[in-house]
């Protein structure tokens, strides 16, 4: 080995590619300035983006008013639209986040939001995926209930109609999906069942619920349902809306899950049968793990959709995040600053939905790693 090495000339290190072909410059040449048409379009778009970005910074940062004393919004009104009035957020942020929850007790609602976020993060990490996670959920949701309702441990009782803001959105979305998902799996399995009664029941449920808009279900829950109850008997308004959302989400998720069940090759079912597995073992160990993995993208799509659909509860007078934002700008002093409030509320929704979307991409890549060869 060593003799041949001496005999050979010292290899010259490869010269780097011309700077115009690699790196950012090369990428730009290839993608943005490939020809004169493409260059022209790129320059035009660049100009517009910079112009709008500068305009937004000027409106949102440079000319913005960040706070005003005592609801005197004249300073904001004098801007006449040239600058943002973030003072409305400074003044109303606690109302937007917590609604009419008692002001001194709002730390409880804040703690509930933190528990929700922590719960999401813990559930997202694969290393925590074990049976104990169920206990963690029960404990977390229980402590959220204790925090929100109070009445024990020296916490003052807060009736449900005073809850509001982001907490309501998180409660409706989390409980909604946590209950709708198992329901959806059962319905999807039922729809493919060979037992005619179960199959018919599941088909009717899915088609009935999918056939009406969520708004009409919420109306049923809030306007029609109470009339069927005896006088003086009331079910919590939030609970009625929650059940409507669970039923609605359940029907949609069931169809998504059914898509996964059908995508699975027949051989998998037959192989499980050949091994002599019972129906539940076949479903739990063979069918569902594969089927659910296939439908991660549409599942998350539905999740994200439902997270935002919870804002429809505004039509039955529940103060979720969006409704609280809208209500905040009803006060005459703050009328006309809707853009600022909607941007803020939109940003909060975006944070949650974008996190879900990114997480599902990672999850999909990780769970489908065996397919990438």
């Amino acid at each position: 080995m060593s003799t041949t090495a001496i005999a050979n000339p010292i290899p010259t290190p490869a010269r780097p590619a011309p700077i115009t072909l690699v790196g950012p410059i090369g990428w730009m040449r290839a993608n943005l300035f490939a020809g004169w048409v493409s260059s022209l379009v790129s320059l035009l778009l660049l100009f517009l983006i910079v112009k709008w970005a500068l305009g937004f910074i000027e409106w949102g940062v440079i000319n913005a008013v960040w706070s005003v004393p005592n609801n005197q919004t004249q300073a904001c009104r004098d801007l006449r639209g040239t600058g943002a009035c973030w003072a409305v957020i400074t003044e109303k942020h606690r109302f937007i986040l917590f609604g009419t929850y008692p002001y001194e007790e709002q730390w409880r609602a804040f703690a509930a939001i933190l528990i929700f976020i922590a719960l999401f993060i813990v559930s997202a990490l694969r290393r925590f995926w074990r049976k104990e996670l169920l206990l963690v959920w029960v404990a977390a949701l229980g402590s959220i209930g204790v925090l929100m309702w109070g009445g024990v441990l020296g916490l003052a009782y807060v009736p449900q109609e005073r809850w509001g803001g982001l907490v309501i959105t998180l409660i409706l979305a989390t409980f909604g999906l946590a209950f709708a998902f198992p329901l959806a799996i059962l319905v999807a399995l039922g729809r493919r069942s060979r037992l005619p009664a179960i199959k018919a029941l599941c088909v009717i449920y899915v088609e009935l619920i999918r056939g009406v808009p969520l708004i009409s279900l919420l109306f049923m829950a809030s306007v029609m349902f109470p009339l069927f109850l005896p006088e003086g008997m009331n079910i919590d308004k939030l609970l009625r809306a929650q059940i409507a959302i669970i039923l609605f989400a359940g029907a949609y998720l069931a169809e998504v899950v059914r898509g996964g069940l059908q995508a699975l090759s027949r051989g998998q079912y037959e192989a499980a049968d050949a091994l002599g597995l019972s129906y539940w073992k076949k479903t739990g160990f063979i069918v569902l793990p594969q089927a659910l993995r296939l439908v991660i993208p549409p599942l998350v799509n539905t999740f994200i959709g439902f997270f935002k659909d919870t804002s429809l509860v505004l039509i039955i007078g529940i103060f979720d995040l969006l409704t609280a934002g809208k209500t905040a700008i009803i006060e005459p002093a703050w009328q006309g600053f809707g853009i600022e409030v909607y941007l803020t509320v939109g940003f909060i929704y975006f944070c949650f939905c974008f996190a879900m979307s990114r997480y599902s991409q990672n999850l999909e890549a990780e769970l489908n790693r065996h397919r990438v060869r």
């Binding site: 109302f95 229980g142 209930g145 109609e161 005073r162 069927f228 109850l229 007078g317 005459p332």
Partner: protein, 353 residues
């Protein structure tokens, strides 16, 4: 688990109850045992709070402030009824209701009383099973135009573009009025308040129409309110007042006379500030009866004799409540139907005797 257990036990109870309603033959005893007391006052006393259905947010009438505390004209009325019943105006639970859900909330017993700028109409009074004990605010649909347009009367709006919100009776009133007066107009129908106002301000329409209370609030929120004029014509009658369930005359009386107590207090110049002093020194017979020093007016209502005194101490008289919530949003009381009858208005209370 406790909280969710509660939810579920309530849900199960509800299901069980549904069953008892559907199958009364199977469980007659259970259905009867669950009958709520028909007497609203007893139910309120047992609960320890008045449940008041309010608007989800309307400037001046009912809106939560930055700290989440409900404030407004309707809210003070809720407080007045609570003060009359409990002597404590804070014993109220506010349930926000939308235009669609308000009557169900009342009929199903979710709320005891609606103070939710509800117009008293014949059909609501009869077929919906409601009672309207009083009218605490006379509203009516009007028009707002820009001062620069030089319009002085709604009758000059022929050919104009008019911004209006859909859904409620506002649009219908506008069409009826235009037909009756042979006026042609182009409607610009926009759902959201914020957008409809923006369209009017931007000049997409010459006039904006809604209830006078809404016009005043919108005008006062403009950078220079003086640039906008509310035209003198009022094209509809909107008597707003509380609504209660039909069939409980006693509770309707309490709501009605709570309103009248505030009117009489204004007549007698008794305010929240001077109520205690009036109690000590006022010798006018009606004041003595109102404040509960003579007579048994409170007992006759099924309340404490200091009921009216408690109302006045908690929220003040009608004029004070109006000045506190409706004057700031730009509503004029003088020369409006909401003035006292002695000033040419419609607010008139029967005698306290």
């Amino acid at each position: 688990m406790l909280a969710f257990g509660q939810i579920f036990s309530r849900a199960l109870r509800a299901l069980a109850l549904l069953g008892t309603v559907a199958l009364p033959a199977l469980a007659p005893g259970a259905a009867q045992a669950q009958q709520a007391p028909a007497n609203t006052l007893d139910a309120i006393r047992a609960r320890g709070a008045l449940v008041c259905g309010v608007n989800t947010g309307l400037a001046g009438f009912a809106q939560p402030d930055s700290q989440g505390v409900w404030r407004g004209f309707d809210i003070d009325y809720c407080r007045s009824v609570a003060a009359a019943i409990f002597g404590d105006a804070s014993k109220v639970r506010y349930v926000p209701t939308t235009a669609q859900s308000r009557f169900t909330a009342l009929q199903s017993g979710e709320v005891d009383v609606l103070f939710r700028n509800t117009t008293w109409t014949l059909s609501r009074d009869t077929s919906l099973g409601l009672d309207f004990p009083a009218v605490n605010f006379y509203d009516g649909q009007g028009f707002m135009v820009k001062k620069s347009a030089g319009v002085n009367s709604a009758l000059e709006l022929n050919g104009a573009t008019i911004c209006v919100q859909p859904g409620t009776t506002t649009e219908q009133n506008l069409t009826d009025w235009a037909r009756a007066n042979n006026i042609r107009f182009t409607p610009v129908v926009i759902e959201r308040l914020e957008e409809v106002v923006a369209a009017y301000v931007a000049g997409r329409c010459d006039a904006y129409t809604t209830d006078a209370s809404g016009l005043a609030a919108t005008r006062s929120a403009q950078p220079t309110p003086a640039d906008h004029v509310i035209l003198p014509e009022v094209i509809s009658k909107e008597p707003l007042g509380p609504a209660v369930r039909q069939g409980d005359a006693r509770f309707a009386d309490i709501v009605r006379w709570s309103h009248f107590a505030m009117l009489v207090a204004e007549e007698l110049n008794i305010t929240a500030a001077n109520a205690a002093q009036a109690l000590a020194s006022d010798q006018r017979p009606e004041a003595l009866r109102l404040l509960g020093k003579t007579g048994d007016l409170g007992k006759m209502l099924g309340l404490d004799n200091a009921w009216a005194l408690n109302i006045i101490k908690a929220v003040g008289n009608y004029g004070e409540v109006f000045a506190r919530h409706l004057t700031p949003i730009g509503l004029q009381r003088a020369r409006s139907p909401n003035a006292m009858y002695t000033q040419g208005g419609l607010q008139y209370a029967p005698p306290f005797r």
